[in-house]
């Protein structure tokens, strides 16, 4: 598991990027934490820099929207989903389990 930050350091509506083999973006949506691949599947943009709207994040470069729960993309220009990762909160710390999908399937 990769430690991200204390829960208090990632308030609702905020996002952060963690370095891993492929960087991961972690979001707090009204107290729920979600993690997806940080790099947009279209071109080179960091989704942690994007605009959070409910459970979707809009890419800061060309505005494709990704669902944080499923990784699915809503429309062009991106064509492929991002991977989702499982988030674990333990003793006030946020961790991500890279390589496992949000629903626990590797």
């Amino acid at each position: 598991m990769i430690p991200v930050c204390p829960t208090t350091a990632l308030p609702p509506g905020e996002a952060t990027r963690v370095e891993a083999d492929e960087p991961i973006a972690v979001f707090n949506v009204d107290g729920e934490f979600y993690a997806i691949d940080d790099t947009c599947t279209h071109q080179d943009a960091s989704l942690a820099d994007g605009w959070l709207d409910g459970c979707t994040v809009e890419c800061p470069l060309h505005a494709s929207c990704f669902d944080l729960r499923t990784g699915k993309v809503s429309g062009p220009p991106a064509k492929t989903p991002v991977r989702t990762h499982q988030v674990v909160v333990q003793d006030g710390m946020v961790y991500v389990q890279a390589g496992t999908t949000a629903d626990g399937i590797a």
């Binding site: 942690a48 800061p60 470069l61 060309h62 062009p76 064509k79």
Partner: protein, 390 residues
């Protein structure tokens, strides 16, 4: 009887219009007419990743797997040569025609050429995939590049060529590059990017002529200076592809003139993307926006107009980005001469900053360099602040 809509121009605006038609439940026939041999592709990478050799033609294809379901009738390698507005018939170069109930004009723009550069090898413009392939091949064997024009094409090509190891000189007639879109102060910051990366930028100087027989050998400036060149790239602006509409009765200016919802003066004909000059209530004139996001988003409104749907008049906040020497530049809003640029985050010297342009104390535009997160917030704020006309 089933109806037909003809989309003329098979690039970002044309494909976006075809997608929008299906999105808005149009179930008739859609014919997409385009003069290039390639299926629609994305142009921004042509001066960046594709030219650098890190993106392939497959990487920059615009088509998505879902597009198969759109049921589009493609007429590629086909040039529209005229439009009969009474019968809404698009005339094609091979003498055939497409009779339609509605027409979407999306023929974009082409690169302006330097008079006197015709027929000289080693002189390039950059607009199409074929242009980019030819330029990439030529750069691979070259040592010295001269770029004419320090606009978007000029800056991006210069940056990519430096990365490829070429010696680069950029020549610009204006005293400061990108002063039109960004203002003189911020244009000066962009001039600094060239200097940071070892590109020679010569401003306030014009080109007298190109020298060489068969192949270009040098660029002669108006002050007599001769710049030796293996390759020359001309990036001096773009011209809308509207000549084919000259006798169609469709009103033309600097582009196809439309109202704010994409309607031309001709019933059943709308125009979108780089070829269209849409009425802007904010600017109080027709504005031809030559940026990617406009070509992506504008068709939804124009198609609604074509299908007879109402809805509010959009007041978009224009947006573009540019990548120069690894710096990500993002701009949103409408800037005018006289607006005051204020740095609200970071510093220009660090090449990481956010600048807000203000008019009468109100923010009207925002520019970010390497500040995507903050930029996104400001862009949102601008969008929320713009009133929607009805």
């Amino acid at each position: 009887m089933s109806s037909t809509i003809a989309v003329v121009g098979a690039s970002l605006a044309g494909l976006s219009a075809a997608r929008a038609l299906r999105d808005q439940s149009y179930d008739g026939r859609i014919v997409v007419i385009g003069d290039e041999v390639h299926a629609p592709y994305d142009r921004p990478p042509l001066s960046k990743e594709f030219l650098a050799g890190t993106a392939s033609p497959e990487d920059i294809a615009l088509g998505a797997p879902d597009d198969e379901d759109l049921g589009l009738e493609w007429r590629l390698q086909t040039t529209a040569v005229g439009l009969d507005h009474l019968s809404r018939t698009v005339l094609l170069h091979d003498g055939t025609e497409v009779r339609a109930d509605g027409v979407v004009l999306a023929t974009g723009a082409r690169a302006r050429r330097l008079p006197g550069s015709e027929g000289l090898d080693g002189v390039h413009v950059l607009r199409s995939l074929d242009d980019a392939i030819a330029l990439r091949e030529d750069l691979a064997a070259a040592g010295r590049l001269v770029v004419i024009g320090a606009g978007f094409i000029g800056a991006e090509v210069a940056a990519t060529a430096r990365k490829l190891g070429l010696e680069v000189t950029v020549v610009e007639t204006q005293p400061v590059p990108l002063a039109g879109p960004l203002g003189a102060d911020m244009g000066a910051v962009c001039a600094g990017l060239h200097a940071d990366h070892g590109t020679r930028l010569l401003t306030g100087t014009g080109v007298a002529r190109l020298l060489g027989t068969g192949r270009v050998e040098a660029v002669e400036l108006t002050d007599g200076t001769r710049l030796p060149a293996d390759v020359v790239v001309v990036g001096i602006g773009a011209t809308p592809n509207i000549e084919w509409l000259a006798h169609s009765g469709v009103a033309l200016g600097n582009g196809v003139l439309t109202d704010a919802r994409g309607a031309t003066n001709t019933p059943g004909v709308v125009a979108v993307g780089d070829c269209a000059a849409a009425w802007s209530a904010t600017a109080e004139r027709h504005v031809r926006i030559e940026h990617w996001t406009n070509a992506l988003e504008q068709p939804a409104t124009a198609v609604a107009t074509l299908l007879g749907a109402g809805g509010p008049v959009p007041t978009p906040v224009p947006y573009f980005w540019s990548d120069q020497y690894g710096a990500r530049i993002q701009f949103a809003g409408s800037r005018r001469e006289g607006d005051v640029a204020r740095v609200v985050e970071g510093s220009c010297d660090d090449r990481s900053f956010l600048v807000v342009y203000e008019r009468d104390g109100q923010p009207v535009a925002v520019l970010g360099m390497n500040q995507p997160r903050l930029f996104t917030r400001w862009r949102r704020q601008l969008r929320a602040a713009v009133p929607t006309a009805s």
